[in-house]
Every structure is written in C-alpha cells, then in structure tokens.
C-alpha cells in the first residue's frame, strides 16, 4: 500500500494516493464540478487528457490549471473556479 498524503480542496482536506490527479481530488472531495462556464453552468472534466480545459481550477495560487494533468502533491491547495 503506497503512502497516502493530504491535499486541500476549497478548504476541505482529502487524503489521496500518489499518482492521483488534482481533478480526481476535486471529485473525491465531493465537488461535482471544477468551474463555472461563461453562461453560468457547472462544468467538470470531459476529455481527461489535457485538451478540453473543462477541468481547470486554481492550484497552489496558479489559476486556470488543467487539473486532469496535474498530479497531487502533499499539501497542494486546489480551489474550484466559481463553483
């Protein structure tokens, strides 16, 4: 069993395994969406491979990060965009 570690999503602590994407952490924290669209709809990952930008959120102070491509690190702080 690989050693798990904690990340923070919108202030909530989530325990994840190495290799977990930030997108997965958002969903595991119980947030169904990553961002709000220009028309105000909730949006969540579509392509899962860094192309569609639907999973973008703020990671460690950097905005518009594609969370499906970003691997969790211990202590990572993720903030969903407008959701």
């Amino acid at each position: 069993m690989p050693e798990t570690f904690e990340v923070v999503v919108n202030g909530d602590v989530v325990r994840v395994e190495p290799g977990t994407s930030a997108a997965a952490a958002i969903l595991m924290a119980g947030h169904g969406a990553c961002r709000k669209s220009v028309g105000g709809e909730p949006r969540a990952p579509l392509c899962g491979m860094g192309v569609c930008f639907e999973c973008r959120a703020e990671v460690d102070g950097v905005r518009h990060v594609r969370t499906c491509q970003a691997l969790c690190r211990a202590g990572m702080r993720i903030i969903t965009d407008g959701i």
Binding site: S21, G32, R43, C47, M49, G50, V51, C52, R56
Partner: protein
Amino acid sequence: MGSERGRKIVVVGAGPAGIAAACAAAEAGCAVVLMDDNPTAGGQIWRGGGGREAAQWTARLEASGARCWYGACVVSAAGGTVVAERDGEPMRIEYHELILATGARELFLPFPGWTLPGITGLGGLQALARGGVPVRGKRVVLCGSGPLLLAVAAHLREHGARVEAMAEQADFGRLVRFAARLVRWPGKLAQGLGLQWALRSVPFLTGAWPVAAEGRGELESVLLRTVQGTRRIACDWLGCAFGLIPNAELAAFLGCRIEAGVVAVDEWQRTNVAHVFCAGEPTGIGGLERSLAEGQIAGWAAAGQETKARALFGRRADLHRFSAELAEAFELRQELKELASADTIVCRCEDVRRRELAGYGGWRGAKLQTRCGMGPCQGRICGPACSFLFGWDTLSGRVRPPVFPASMGTVAAAGERQRREARV
C-alpha cells in the same frame, strides 16, 4: 539522408510512436530530446502503466540515452527551434530533425445535455479513473463508437464500476463484417474476442446512440436511441466519444500538408516541410502497432538509417490496411448530425449554441462573429464537431501561435525568435 552522429532530433509526444521514434534515433547515435505535455511517458494508451509491452518500451527508452522532458507544452516551432512551456517557464530546444508524434484525441459530438458534469469521453473516463477518480460501485453507461468502447468497459469493470450498457452507433452488420476480416490480424481478433467474453454480461447495443442526457446540475440519466426504440438508463457516469481524431494542430501550424484530416507523409514518414517527420495517429488512426511501426521508421529515417527503416515497410503496409477496415466499420452515421438541437451548446469554452452558428459558411466567419472555438481549448473540441456537423475545414492553414495556451513570457520568447528570423 546520410547518417550523422550527434544529429539533434526533437520528438514531440511520448506515446508509443514518440517512444519508438526516440529509441530508434537515440540508438542510432543521435542526440534525442523527447517532450510531452503529460506528466509521464506512455501517451494516452499507456497512461498510468500499460502492462508488459509498455514496460519494455519505457525500459528501452531509458537505456537509449534520449533526454525526456515531461509536462512540457509545445507552443511554437520554426526554423530549427521548438519553444515549449514547462512549469510556467519558456524552454527552447534546437533541432536538425523534428518528429511529430502528437497522438490523437476523442471526437465529441454535441447532444442535448452533453455539458452536464458526469459526462466524459470514453478514453477520457478511463484516463480520469487511472488518475484516481473513483468508479467503484458507480453506474456507468458507455456509448459512441469504436474499439475503445469495449476496452474501456472492461477496464472500468475491473475497477469495480457497474457498466449498465454499451451503445455502439455502427450497425450490427458492419461489426460482423469487421470481425470476419479480423482473421487477417489474429492478435487483434483474439483481443476483441477476449473483451467480448469478459463483457458477456453487459448489454451491448449496436445501431444505438445517445439522444439526450438529463440531470439537475449533474448527470442523472441518459436517453439512448436503440433499434427497439428509446431507452432511459439511470447512471452516475456517461462515457461518450465518436472515435479518435488526429492531433494535427502543430503539424498544420508548421505548414505540413493535411489531407482528409490527417498529416500527409512519404514512405520515410517525412512531411512536405523539410526536416519535419510525423508518425502515429496524426497520419491516420490505426492504434498501437501502427504507431510503434511508424515511430520506428521515422526515428531510423531521421537518423539516416534507411535500411533499418525499410525493414518495417511491410509491417506498416499491413497495419494501414487494418486502419482502413477500422474506418469503414465505424464510419459515423448521418443521423448523428442532427443530435444537437438549436439550443445545444457546441462550443463549451464560450457557450456558443448551435442556433448561433446557423448561417455561417465556414469556421473563420463563425469564430470571428460568435467566438466559437476562441476559448482556451482553441477549438480542439468544437472544431472537429463543426467539421462533422457543417463540413467546415477547421485545420489547414488556420493554426496560429501559440499552438497551445501559454503565459505571456513564453509567447514573448516565441515571438522574439520569429522577429530575429524575420530580420535575417
């Protein structure tokens, strides 16, 4: 071409084609740099592992001496230099030969409700699950088209998902003909039969496709059009994609000729642009074996090892025949063009609806007037959809830098290079 030790070769894309190209070129004595946007090697097919074959290739890559840069997004390339962005910082790498192995992505077609959270691609859902998105005990419906449907269903079931149904848009008859022709490729036939057996308890609907997804704020159910009429299935996840399309944006940006949506190459995998090669899915969707063969040919050819490259020509020709069978069997039906209603969002970045796109004769006009394709994905999702729905050419000669969204610092670094070239 001539062999030359120390020749600098940059390979863009570390999926099977890119790994194979980098191995071949590095083993021939070239100085190879392999770059990829993803955090690790393997591309989409070997994301998060990939079994023995993947392990063998990655071990060979490590032993080859090729330098690997992961998490590096190529934003521009011209005149012997690739500009990429990594951790927000620009990086520039010079090359004598450039090999594009940029892979493929899924084709998404808009239908009512397709923007609800819980709806992903097929490979998309698999990739998310490999990244730790929990699927155990979840009700999953998979639909769209292509061999990925079965592969993803099997993978998700292994990870505890409850796959409620699989819906393939192609008719049963086409699939039977395809299966009959697979006897020429026993490995692929065995793979297909193995998946069918593993999935024998899951309803597999043919000539069926999604007509709407429903839910308040998130996915609750999908409506499938089947030969027996419309069926509503409750689900937590809907994986849906209508086959694969080449990632040809970088090739188009470099001026490579695109024919029928794929990058045109000669027998050495050379494009029409000097010193630019292309291998794998961008030259035509064909799967793992074709990508490995083309990658090696490109790597050997770029390194000047014609004899070694030529040795794989026969294998490649055979795999090209498989690609043709694949394209015929899973050709998209015309009814799918009518899935999106007037009110359905086509461009998810800018929330542009189908009705707003009516009356435009082409991609450029629609982009300028409606902002369709002008968001962060730069039309990578809605462009191919518009191409299918309206017949618009969304690729050739229309890709501008940066090829991928980048920080202003990186854009400036790329622009600086272009200005210096313009002066010479």
